[in-house]
Symmetry: C2
Subunit: 206 residues, 2 copies
């Protein structure tokens, strides 16, 4: 792509560093900003920089937060004895959206992945284990994605919990509500049969 | 979408103002920036702001340029008597990429569109007509998209040129090179038959 302006080329280059944004899309986005008033670009530019500079993470659960302790951890109505272990804050948002969970979270910041060079020390596993050792946690729910990395991370944490009196569980895998059985993959369908629940129990779920 | 941080929400909101970027994509992009070193965000942020603040347009053709006169207009090897009228700078880049055009451009900055409230005075039509009146232009090539707005704009400019000795042309419409006839739309196929060219002439094209 040949640019008539270095400034334009530079902006497009930086924009296309973002995941899933190619050069053409980046050019379209930059051209859009050029057609808008200056304050639109100024607001976007400062929102990104301010976030990156002033971002804080909850010292208890490592969720992104504007305070020292996030709103979920500081909410007295939530059960501090139940901790749901997730990969990143998008998972927190997804679970919060269901309105079905009243415990706290622990955001790992990723999964153990030797291929990507991510080890246990790069995640917030140590602080999770510390909380468990203090006896603050009664049940730990593993809610990582069920990939090899997710399973490895679950198992690593599980081994670290040895000797601590704690209940561990993992979220249910199965056919999505409303999905047709014939289109489900075999692993999911297999798990949903193995992990079947009593029919009376299922009637209580809305 | 519920955010645990105002700063995060603000960044996602600003990002999702961009065309084709929804809230989910915006969140993914912002999360990506959060995982990168600060200088990545700083560079993106400043590239956008610098572009918007320091952007210049060529005083002759209105293409984006870092100088008063853009590289195309100031290139002595290009033919100043031929001017290709385009909607925006992406069209300039697309035509330049073909390597087939040695004339200059004139960037209108849009198309006449009563629906969007864009009239002739919002575009750079006056300066185009002025150049034509000075006798600088021998041939004007209309290369706007063939929509109602494009056709309206072409026709408006054409009427303004009345009484000026100038040749006007429009880029050829037809079946794309390599495309199958059976998948072409009727209007395009119809035009490509009406505007057929002598077979001997077509042999000279690479």
């Amino acid at each position: 792509m040949e640019f008539s302006s270095k400034l334009l080329e530079n902006a497009v280059d930086e924009m296309s560093q973002l995941p899933g944004i190619g050069k053409r899309t980046a050019l379209r986005l930059v051209m859009h900003l050029l057609k808008q008033p200056l304050d639109k670009t100024a607001r976007l530019s400062s929102a990104l920089l301010t976030l990156k500079e002033e971002i804080k993470f909850c010292s208890n659960c490592h969720n992104i937060s504007d305070q020292e302790i996030c709103e979920i951890c500081s909410n007295p109505k939530r059960d501090p004895g139940t901790v749901c272990v997730v990969e990143d804050i998008r998972d927190v948002m997804a679970i919060e959206n269901t309105g079905q969970y009243r415990g706290l979270y622990h955001v790992l910041g990723g999964k153990i992945s030797p291929v990507e060079g991510i080890g246990p020390q790069d995640l917030t596993i140590a602080s999770l284990i510390a909380k468990a050792k203090e006896g603050k946690i009664k049940e730990m729910i593993f809610a990582l994605s069920s990939t090899m990395e997710g399973d490895t991370t679950n198992f690593y944490i599980y081994k670290q919990l040895e000797g601590i009196d704690i209940k561990t569980s993992t979220i249910a895998r199965g056919i999505a509500v409303g999905d047709e059985l014939e289109y489900a993959d075999e692993v999911t369908l297999g798990r949903s049969i193995l992990n079947r629940i009593p029919f009376e129990g299922s009637l209580k779920l809305s």
